[in-house]
Amino acid sequence: MLGLSAGPGLAGPAIAGQEPVARAAIPAASAPDRDLTAWLARLHEGPRRRAYAGTYVVSASSGALSSARIWHVCDGSQQMERVESLTGQPRTTFRRNDEVLTFHSDEKRAVAEKREAPGLFPNRVIPGEQTIAEHYTLQPLASERVAGHEADGVQLVPKDPWRYGYRVWSEKKTGLVMKLQTVDASGRVLEQSAFSELQLDAPVKMDQLARMMASTGGYRVEKADVVRTTAAAEGWSIRSTVPGFQPTTCLKRPALAGQAPGMLQWVFSDGLASVSLFVENFDPQRHRREGAATMGATQSLTRRWPERNDGEWWLTVVGEVPMQTLQAFAQGLERRKGAPN
């Protein structure tokens, strides 16, 4: 590792093929490394053991806030959650393992979909554990009291500038994540998700949630059709991936609220952060504005692809990573030779 410089500067990220330039760690008290595996395992145990209810707040550095009431229960074979939005449109989301049903009460519409997230109950295997160890360093942080509970803190420091860092506080007894911060290279907190109040061992009943989830009377139930595919089958590949990011999922989505059918979503992950590449056929009617936008820890990049006036595709890259990582993905995308247009 290169000598530590005085401040947290951001050295240039690796260009494909070159060694990444190590960056100075976020200044922290020197401490021995923790066992990452043990910590990750504990992270996943938290929501498995207990029933809880609380108020969850997601806030971005811009000051924007989103919050919801959460009820959660798990009995070892099933995990259920009910989330009621407190901000924005009134939404109630129910989840049973990977099945998700979102009620749009104002439109009498219920949208059913599958959430496929790594590490989600009942999967015990945490994919990407190895990758996490290779690209982040675990460091301890001072304990904090969050929403009335004592929580242990750790910091996940990225080893290169392609990703953000994380600060995580887990409730001491159960390991439940109480507060999560995504931080950038200068230590600035981009986004925070935290319980503002939490009642552990709340009397949340599985059968009650199940009954509520099943109450779709009067609602139009829509199922999102998503077709699994492979990038290769769709004619896409990526050269020189960003270090640490592996492809995890590729799927075709149908019309999303008015879009033309056939949008492709290709997901990459480094174990903690993920990036989605959304590809559509270019349509001059709908695709008017290229640009970059940020929401909390999430960056997005939208542009025509290839980057020419006659590019046939419209690409949007979204991820909880620095903008240069999104650009590297956009640069690395390739249309396979012989693939149809």
Binding site: Y56, T87, G88, E197, L256, A273, S276, A293, M323, A328
Partner: protein, 229 residues
């Protein structure tokens, strides 16, 4: 504040009057009302309407504004009561803790001496929420066009990041005044939701309710949707 935002705040005020806002939505709206003329005027007229509907006698409101202004000045002069929102600023928990029927004993959990690593905590300043439309919580900040060079320059330290971008200027070293324009982009919100569904930082077990972004179905975006959509 333009008319669309004015209307959005008025809608929140209407809901607030009927006890429909809680937690952060409540706090955000009340915060915004503190500095918003039209919002407070709406709060006044909505309640006036209710009073008049119940009894036409209560239409007398000639001096309402004067009354409140006079009282406000006297309240300011009151000793021993904390002025401003210092207590609230230090404890985001207090804001979101409010529950419908429990008054609680308003314990202000002052986090005196935030941990050293909380130095650049931004959202503690809930007062800054005044510019955020309360109804829609999170919006995208447009950071300039083409390849996000503006953002690049902002995020980078002095070293310009040299990522080959093909045609177009190299990553600018000049820093950009990040005029974070808050934009609404339902299309982008939809992609974000799709992204979270299959990825996100889900290893941290964050609740699935946040798959659906708060602004997903709020209002039209500017320019990113074809007419007629």
């Amino acid at each position: 504040m333009n008319t669309e935002e004015q209307l959005k705040l008025r809608e929140q005020v209407s809901a607030l009057a009927d006890g429909q806002l809680h937690g952060v939505a409540f706090a955000a709206t009340v915060e915004q009302l503190g500095g918003d003329e039209d919002g407070r005027a709406s709060w006044h007229v909505y309640h006036l309407i209710g009073d008049v509907l119940r009894s036409s006698e209560l239409g007398t409101c000639q001096h309402d504004r004067d009354f409140v202004a006079r009282l406000s000045a006297r309240l300011q002069a009151e000793p021993g009561v904390p002025r401003g929102l210092d207590g609230l600023h230090e404890s985001p928990e207090l804001i979101a803790n409010s529950d419908r029927n429990t008054l609680g004993t308003a314990k202000i959990d002052r986090k005196s001496g935030a941990a050293a690593n909380d130095g650049s905590y931004r959202w503690k300043m809930l007062a800054g929420l005044a510019t955020v439309v309360a109804a829609a919580a999170i919006g995208w900040s447009g950071l300039g066009d083409r390849s996000g060079e503006a953002l690049l320059a902002r995020q980078s330290a002095p070293e310009p990041v040299k990522v080959a971008l093909g045609a177009g200027p190299t990553g600018g070293a000049e820093s950009v005044s990040v005029g974070a324009v808050m934009i609404r982009d339902p299309h982008l919100d939809g992609l974000l939701a799709a992204h979270r569904q299959f990825g996100g930082s889900s290893v941290f077990q964050n609740p699935s309710g946040f798959l659906r972004n708060a602004t997903f179905d709020a209002g039209a975006s500017r320019g990113s949707r074809a007419p007629g959509q």
